[in-house]
Symmetry: C2
Subunit: 428 residues, 2 copies
């Protein structure tokens, strides 16, 4: 792996290079056409795109509940147990995210509050092929369930040999309402605008390739979307107490996801840097997904040697990684030093894949530096808030002058008159 030994200022510039995003106008245009077509022609358009892009001739878009049940029965007891353990811990973690409304009646004649309401219907995108992850279904559907969403509609690209049983079993365990075997921009369009078979949803969540991400961005406003997810990332902060071959293994666990994945180690120990770099080479050699991981490590991976622990955190907060491992002595003490990260793994035994599967926190996380302003997917993504007020005549009277002054300053005479109409003599 590339090893840098530069100042914090120089390293921050290198990090910025790694987070720059670009827009592909060709893809933007293609996706806009797909969306327009699905809006206009519904199922017919969706089917023709599935034939074109996935090479599958679809008769029925929906996967029957029988098929889900069969898939669930067909998976191994080990996998069933693993999915159920994940379900249990995802549930008990996400229940802590539940939000409640509030009410305030401290001022005479005034009631002010906020109510929290679940979304009615939500769409989940689950990538197909080699990226068909049952764990992702649990991570997306369970928070929506806990939020109280009525219907969860899942879409996933059709496969020539049928959708993987593990994916369908996970959909059943997660309590998904309906599964449609459609993918790509056409699936996003169907969820956003509805077709004869696919119901229109209020929000679309879940990761996807560049076509899915572009389509989500284009339907944003028509429906809500979660963040536009990019390639996986891991950032590790480590000192001399860490074990090089464990760090190397964790770096590779993200590198194997995608050629554009990002694996970064920041340390204050030069010896550790060299040892981890050597270990990465050694472990890469015997990795099934070597072809992918090697490109990620070479193109976007690096090790940075910094002078001090505060500098290590300063640089890592600039990276704002999706996953952050803190492999330092007494790691919990650094919780307040972490400003920007999706999910944090503290100490030697919190290896990143633990968080991908069974620990409980969500694995749908902000990438590409968006942890500076975005949160993990959570129960809060499946509710919305509504404020409310009720005033007595006396309470409104007290505020009357301030309201009319502001309204008239803003040139909004009808605003002032509306409030004044409450004090006309003949008002009921």
């Amino acid at each position: 792996m590339k090893i840098y030994k530069k100042s914090l200022a120089e390293m921050k510039k290198i990090v910025v290079r790694y987070t720059t995003q670009t827009t592909d106008l060709q893809i933007e245009k293609q996706v806009a056409e797909i969306i327009e077509n699905v809006r206009a022609k519904g199922d017919e358009a969706v089917k023709s795109y599935e034939k074109k892009f996935d090479g599958v001739d679809l008769d029925e878009l929906r996967i029957s509940n029988n098929q889900l049940e069969e898939a669930y029965q067909s998976i191994s007891p080990e996998l069933k147990d693993a999915l159920k353990l994940a379900e249990k811990n995802i549930k008990n973690y996400h229940e802590m995210e539940l939000q409640h409304g509030f009410v305030d009646a401290a001022q005479p004649g005034i009631i002010r509050g906020q109510k929290v309401t679940p979304l009615e219907r939500v769409g989940l995108y689950v990538p197909g092929g080699t990226a068909a992850y049952p764990s992702t279904i649990l991570m997306n559907a369970l928070p929506a369930k806990i939020a109280g969403v009525d219907e969860i509609v899942m879409v996933t690209p059709p496969q020539k040999d049928g959708i993987a049983p593990a994916v369908l079993a996970a959909a059943k365990i997660a309590g998904v309402t309906a599964v449609y075997q459609i993918g790509g921009a056409q699936a996003i369009a169907a969820l956003a605008y509805g077709t004869e078979s696919v119901p229109r949803v209020n929000k679309i969540v879940g990761p996807g390739n560049i076509f899915v991400a572009t389509a989500k961005k284009q339907v944003f406003g028509q429906v809500a979307i979660d963040m536009v997810a990019g390639p996986s990332e891991i950032g590790i902060l480590a000192d001399e107490t860490a074990t090089p071959y464990q760090l190397a293994a964790d770096l590779l666990s993200q590198a194997e996801h995608d050629k554009r994945a990002r694996a970064i180690l920041i340390t204050n120990n030069e010896e550790l840097a060299t040892a981890v770099s050597d270990e990465v080479e050694k472990q890469l050699a015997v990795l099934p997904r070597k072809a992918i991981a090697e490109v990620a490590i070479k193109d976007r991976g690096f090790i940075a040697i910094m002078d001090s622990v505060p500098e290590m955190f300063a640089l890592m907060n600039e990276v704002a990684p999706e996953h952050l491992e803190v492999q330092l002595a007494d790691p919990m003490q650094y919780l307040s030093s972490i400003r920007n990260a999706g999910s944090v793994f503290l100490g030697k035994y919190a290896s990143e894949p633990l968080g991908d599967y069974v620990a409980g926190p969500n694995h749908v996380l902000p990438t590409g530096g968006t942890a500076k302003f975005s949160s993990p997917l959570g129960v809060y993504d499946f509710v919305k808030k509504t404020s409310f007020i009720q005033f007595s005549k006396e309470a409104l009277q007290k505020d009357l002058k301030a309201i009319t002054t502001l309204a008239r300053t803003e040139g909004l005479e009808a605003h002032a008159r509306a409030v004044e109409s409450r004090f006309k003599g003949d008002a009921k």
Copy 2:
């Protein structure tokens, strides 16, 4: 006003027509060019666009703190008092929105939690000209302040006679860090990517015209944005206990904002419908912003007569209005019947403009049916969450089999090996 007396199913179709959004590809392209130019040329590009679009030759983009102070000193005592009352109530309402992290240590050897961190720097867009609203500045900046945001950067289009003192005074009261006299898509681009004078922010909030909304949509992903705001809306549910001239006044208070504003009354009382329609005509005739309000009422306003109160709510939930007035007897009982609305005004004295100014809840609200999935602007928009976990060796051991089973099912061998590396004999 148009009066409909149709079935719920027929009315729902009419409502859908009113919420359909369209994309203007010409504007999309123009905005993309502006953003590209500002990214490439910084201040120089921003200044040239300000000259072109706002007809103003700018030397300095930033408004000095002295100018803010002078503006504050120059406004009337009435306006100062009104702004301060608004500030006080916005603060004490939004403090109730503050969120806290959590920690869970219920399982042996396992710590799981979530921390809440304010965004570092936020951009506020404040429209110029006739839409230069001091109240909007308070509504945008105060929640960010309460969230703990370090820097609040405000942008507002330059005016030939200088920015309105009320706007600058509000910026001072709200505690804005810096004000730049730039507007349109070029201001959004400057906030998203930074220029020599304008600092790059993590999130952009605030309403704006179609160029601003399109630019916000295009920079989404690079930075976070609030919802893309459309024209104002009011929906009123009223029965025979309501007063027609008050309802008419409230409908006009939103109609005067924009020719595309939407004012809707849903009632179960035919007499009331006719009386409100007559009152709207009467009050329109003597309204300063008649030219705007008249178009809004004619093009997009309507009154619907429904058979029952449940039907009235069913239709209004389909409308999902930005502002919802419940002018029914004993209005608080209907709180649970409201599913989709930005802000709710209960009873005769909760006239909508009260909420625009001094009641406390935010007036930046979801429009165009987006209340189905979006919330009012709030303190929660200026923080982000980070999950964290710490596991003991024993706790990881318990989950080992489930993790490796799931990892290998998903074809991610490096994930399985990373966790297994914690149990190798020679691990420190």
